[in-house]
Amino acid sequence: MTQSWPVADLDPIRRLRVMAASIRGAGVAERVVPATVDQVWAVASDLENELPHLVRDFRSVRVSGRDGDRLTMHARGLLGQRARFDVVLEPGWCWCQSRFLLCGMAAAPHPDGTTFGFLGGVRLPVAGVLAPLLSTAGRPLIAGVLDRLEQRVELRQL
């Protein structure tokens, strides 16, 4: 009988919300994009080509290793600074962590298309103290990511 009991699903967007609520100083935003999950994720998961468009602080991104859903990613910033990220990339879910930076993306179906979520954060001991400031300062940056994601998805449909 127990096999017929209902089971609650935690979709990638809800996973991202859990991460955002649990990491002090992380900023997160969501938007419904009028496209399918596959169309949205084709952009979001193309890290080398699309991440520099989405995240303006990244001048270039290179994936140097891949083991199933685990990747190693090297990003170079606008001022030449470098960061090595450990990445988990799955359908609808991407989580990136470097020594100092965090970045998460998630996508799940929505009646009007796809809910896309983006999370950004820093891994610093002061992140907890600065949480309100980081959250406020990061809001327009994350909104910009969502704007550009929507544009990139549109471009691929043309």
């Binding site: 009988m1 127990t2 017929s4 009991w5 209902p6 089971v7 609650a8 699903d9 935690l10 979709d11 809800r14 996973r15 919300r17 859990v18 991460m19 609520a21 649990s22 990491i23 199933g68 450990d86 988990v88 799955e90 879910w93 989580w95 962590q97 965090l102 891994r123």
Partner: protein, 171 residues
């Protein structure tokens, strides 16, 4: 999002790394815990199950540093999850325990639908007792401690919940 067996890390290691601020370990731990949390929230919170699972895991990760013994993870997660699921199910005001007048007969049309129908007619508190006893196989004393109710109340709620299932399937 299942992880290949060869790459599975011991849960206690994931807990310790997550407690230390490793968000990769946090993400993996969500993968590990989500099916278990979902199996508790589904029958207790019903259509609010995804909300309950999200709230429960948020509480789990916010308080993770307070977990001293990583081997006690599942019992701790169960306590948080069941309480969150009951709270959310109550809040949604969908808890309208009613008589089982219109419950379909067993196997008509699907057992899953029947289970869902019966659960829908129980209060969140009754569903929680049923899940902890019949799904988690906890004894009545443990169930009472977890839900902060007496063993007598556990017995009476369990009786009513099981009676509801019997009544539905004997129609």
């Amino acid at each position: 999002m299942p992880v290949p067996e060869a790459r599975r890390e011991p849960v206690a290691d994931l807990v310790r790394r997550a407690q230390g601020g490793d968000t990769m370990a946090m993400a993996r731990l969500i993968d590990v815990l989500a099916p278990y949390v979902g199996s508790l929230c589904g029958p207790i919170a019903l259509q609010d199950g995804p909300d309950a699972a999200q709230e429960a895991l948020t509480t789990v990760f916010r308080d993770l540093r307070a977990l001293r013994d990583p081997d006690a993870l599942y019992g701790w997660v169960r306590m948080i999850t069941v309480r969150e699921a009951v709270r959310i199910a109550r809040r949604s005001r969908r808890s309208t325990p009613a008589e089982l007048d219109d419950v379909p007969a067993r196997g008509d049309p699907q057992l899953a639908t029947d289970v869902r129908d019966v659960l829908d007619r129980l209060s969140p508190d009754h569903r929680a007792v049923l899940v902890l006893r019949d799904l988690e196989s906890l004894d009545e004393k443990t169930v009472g401690a977890l839900l902060d109710i007496s063993t007598g109340t556990v017995k009476s709620r369990l009786h009513r919940a099981r009676h509801s299932f019997r009544k539905a399937w004997n129609r």
